[in-house]
Symmetry: C2
Subunit: 132 residues, 2 copies
Amino acid sequence: MAKSGLLETCDALCETLTDAEDALTREIVTRLADKWSLWTLSVLAGAAGPMRFSRVMDQVEGISQKSLTKALRQLERDGLVTRKMFAEVPPRVEYAITPIGIEMLEQVAPLWTWAAKSVHRFQAARAKFDGG
Amino acid sequence: MAKSGLLETCDALCETLTDAEDALTREIVTRLADKWSLWTLSVLAGAAGPMRFSRVMDQVEGISQKSLTKALRQLERDGLVTRKMFAEVPPRVEYAITPIGIEMLEQVAPLWTWAAKSVHRFQAARAKFDGG
DNA sequence: GCGTGTACGCACCTTAAGGTAACCAATGGC
DNA sequence: GCCATTGGTTACCTTAAGGTGCGTACACGC
């Protein structure tokens, strides 16, 4: 049974994974679609260097403290960002994207570009569906 | 302000979109994270031709009728699959993937492949994080 | 002395997603 | 007659996601 069910080459690769590895792969891809994770990661990618928590929150418009904390923790756990704490008062914490995080964004970019280019086709399909 | 916040080339493209178009682009990408949509689409891609509802449900293990109906409707609305109804009793409905649907899977495949190849790096990162 | 700024953790509430199960229509087989 | 078939729809319930707001540490400027 195909685990990924995607195209053949990908399928062949996925067959070599254990169930746990397959689940993790799926989880990583799922994270891309997460409402905040990808956005947060790309903000860090766009910065010149490390960013403080509140600076990130400024740029990821509409995110709550709680959600940003959670997103950053997940990204850190997966090795996509680093977190450096300074023992100061008031506290200072700096986040930075890692090489793997950049790699990940590079994988997503063509997909996003394709979606942006195809947006008119989706609009047309929806108009047709909704109209009749 | 960058709308996508992704890499530069992608960013430049996204700047040319209206807010509605940008939101739709995001929505399309977000659909990838959906528990069932991508799986359903890939099942249809793997079939030789059109598939009946119940055949799809057999292959997408664990999905409920309700969720499959919803997933297929969304995919149809976005022009990724077609739905053909036959006025028979018992009813017969056939679903098939469209060229745009195949395009979309082709965009996702490299990303998925990368994630599968990188799975051990994620496991290592998590082990380090969880361990302390 | 007293408010201000920082990066959270925690408790609380609201909303949404998703699963289960029952119901439907018309026909053919027993 | 009675039941199974097929592709749904609907009502109901449980779980999870996500937002709001409060508490916290203490050094600084006024």
